[in-house]
């Protein structure tokens, strides 16, 4: 602490203002400043997390007294066919969304980094879906997907027969993925755009003097230098997808035939539709373990294969 030493040796007033008991004096001030945060941390984090641990090993329907059942909730998870089905759905959703989002997000970032006429307006339009209320736009999408709705009407002239988007199990998940891509695409774009703008222009200038084509520049300069941003956006994107609720609640309620019931929506179903708080808490710990796994993957792998400048 260079400034601290300087203060003690050089400026005399400091030794008066900061006597030996200073740490102690700050403690009372700190308690005042921290009191609301500590209360919030206790009520909204510490107490709920502790309760979730207790609930995970209990059976409780809220009305009857809570009953300790040991690890039987977790044993039930391990043998629950619906749980495995929701895991598959979650995998389907996550992979589909990340593939579409990464590809389209990269395209959008490459477009929006150019200085062109009206770029500010374009950027605003690209970012609009991200900020608007899920409930509002998901209802609009639900109607747009109806058999005689605008999406099928647009596909008609292309020779595509009306698609039963949300009413058939094989079409519901693709429909949900398209909607979520529309909504979250620009989050990816913002991260990748920031990554693109941090690549020095000299790299492109030098390589074009050496005769590199646009295509070569993209594969040899842009993509490697963008990989940290892409990797970061991938992991955070997965963690966010694992916790989605609103679009599924509004558009499908997990159906038809459980085809869009993800793990997170299954937690809601068990906890708040079937009132099995203990089982839902156990499922939420499974979700926590999966999210923790991705967080750890990010920590370990980002040092290995991501190319930092």
């Amino acid at each position: 602490m260079a400034t601290g030493q300087k203060a003690q040796t050089v400026s005399a007033p400091w030794s008066i203002l900061r006597p030996k008991g200073r740490r102690h004096k700050d403690l009372y001030v700190a308690l005042l400043f921290l009191a609301p945060s500590l209360l919030g941390l206790f009520l909204l984090q510490v107490l709920p997390i502790g309760t979730a641990l207790v609930l995970g090993v209990s059976e409780w329907n809220i009305i009857d007294p809570i009953k300790f059942v040991g690890l039987s909730n977790f044993v039930e998870v391990a043998t629950d066919a619906t749980f495995y089905h929701t895991l598959e759905n979650t995998l389907y959703l996550t992979v589909g969304l990340e593939v579409l989002n990464t590809f389209l997000g990269l395209c959008a970032a490459l477009l929006l980094k150019n200085a062109m006429r009206g770029i500010d307006l374009y950027r605003t339009i690209y970012f609009l879906p991200l900020i608007t209320t899920w409930a509002a736009v998901a209802i609009a999408w639900r109607y747009m997907y109806s058999l005689e709705g605008p999406i099928n009407a647009l596909l008609g002239p292309l020779g595509i027969d009306p698609i039963p988007w949300l009413s058939r199990p094989e079409w519901a998940m693709p429909a949900v993925i398209i909607t979520i891509t529309w909504k979250t695409l620009s989050w990816k774009t913002i991260i990748l755009l920031a990554g693109l703008q941090s690549i020095p222009n000299e790299f492109y200038e030098a390589s074009s003097i050496d005769g590199a084509s646009r295509w070569q520049q993209f594969w040899k300069i842009t993509l490697p230098l963008l990989s940290p941003a892409m990797f970061f956006a991938l992991i955070i994107g997965i963690i966010n997808t694992l916790q989605l609720f609103d679009p599924i609640f509004i558009m499908t309620d997990g159906g038809p035939a459980d085809s869009t019931r993800t793990l997170s929506y299954y937690i809601y179903t068990r906890g708040f539709q079937n009132l099995r708080m203990g089982y839902a808490a156990a499922l939420s710990w499974v979700l926590f373990a999966i999210i923790l796994l991705f967080t750890l993957i990010q920590w370990v792998l980002q040092k290995r294969w991501v190319f930092y400048q």
Partner: protein, 274 residues
């Protein structure tokens, strides 16, 4: 990179096409909200209503609870955002400026809770609210928004960039920590407060999950909840529902247009998603 003229034109064209695709759901929403029931149910769909039915908006506000829900959302969001900014900035000040035993350990605890997914805490939170008899109250809607470990962390990062010599000057002039917080740190952290403000505004205004759990009576519906519930009750009234959806989107778009720069740079910095 210099672009040739033909490239510029095609780039502009592709960008415009993308913008049109992203705007399409909004345009359909607005168009449907101005149609008659007959028009909105027609096949093939009618893209532009013959006579704009502005009365759909009146009907949504007056008869379908949207007006009341708008007021509830405004109250809940305002109180939560202002509260969160105060609570988080006070906490961040302690972590950034004060020295006390256990400071780093407590800060680590704040960071650790950020890794726990919402789904783990929301079940116990619901049972707590239920046990406390707070189901169907403004308190239940507001109190979870008053504190945010992320907000405390974000503001601490901003506070740390303010030179400590300004604090020392205030102390020499006879000020105390409260003066430093109020007259030095807060005015110099407008960017940070703006960033946290827009994140929490969008998060709380748009949130659906928590109100779904703790609110049952129509009088306390927030806007997203009112829209979601109207869906079950008035399945056929697409045009009125779309009017409600447009009403819900306008405030967030206005706030976004005002704070766009801060919003985007903060996402790029923190990777936070509302």
């Amino acid at each position: 990179m210099k672009l040739r003229r033909r490239e510029t034109v095609s780039l502009q064209l592709v960008t415009a096409l993308g913008a049109a695709a992203l705007l399409f759901p909004f345009l359909w929403m607005i168009s449907a909200s101005l149609q008659t029931l007959q028009e909105v149910e027609a096949f093939p769909p009618i893209w532009i209503p013959e006579v704009p039915q502005w009365t759909n908006y009146v009907e949504a506000v007056v008869n379908y609870n949207i007006g009341h829900a708008l007021l509830n959302s405004a109250i809940v969001t305002t109180v939560s955002v202002v509260g969160q900014l105060i609570v988080c900035s006070l906490g961040a000040y302690a972590f950034s400026r004060l020295r006390f035993p256990g400071r780093d350990a407590i800060f680590l605890l704040f960071l650790a809770t950020m890794m726990i997914p919402h789904y783990v805490t929301i079940i116990p939170l619901y049972t707590m609210v239920w046990s406390a008899g707070l189901i169907d109250t403004y308190t239940a809607l507001i109190f979870p928004g008053l504190f945010s470990p992320f907000g405390t962390f974000l503001l601490r990062q901003f506070f740390n960039q303010i030179p400590i010599s300004l604090d020392e000057a205030t102390l020499i002039d006879g000020g105390n920590h409260w003066h430093i917080y109020l007259y030095v740190i807060m005015p110099l952290s407008r960017a940070g407060l703006g960033a946290l403000g827009i994140f929490s505004f969008l998060g709380i205004w748009n949130t659906l999950f928590w109100p779904v759990l703790v609110i049952n009576s129509k009088e306390l519906f927030t806007l997203p909840l009112a829209l979601a519930m109207a869906q079950g009750q008035f399945v056929t009234l697409i045009h009125v529902q779309m009017a409600g959806s447009v009403i819900a989107c306008v405030p967030v778009i206005v706030v976004f247009l005002m704070l766009q720069k801060q919003f985007i740079s903060s996402i790029a910095l923190s990777g936070m998603k509302q």
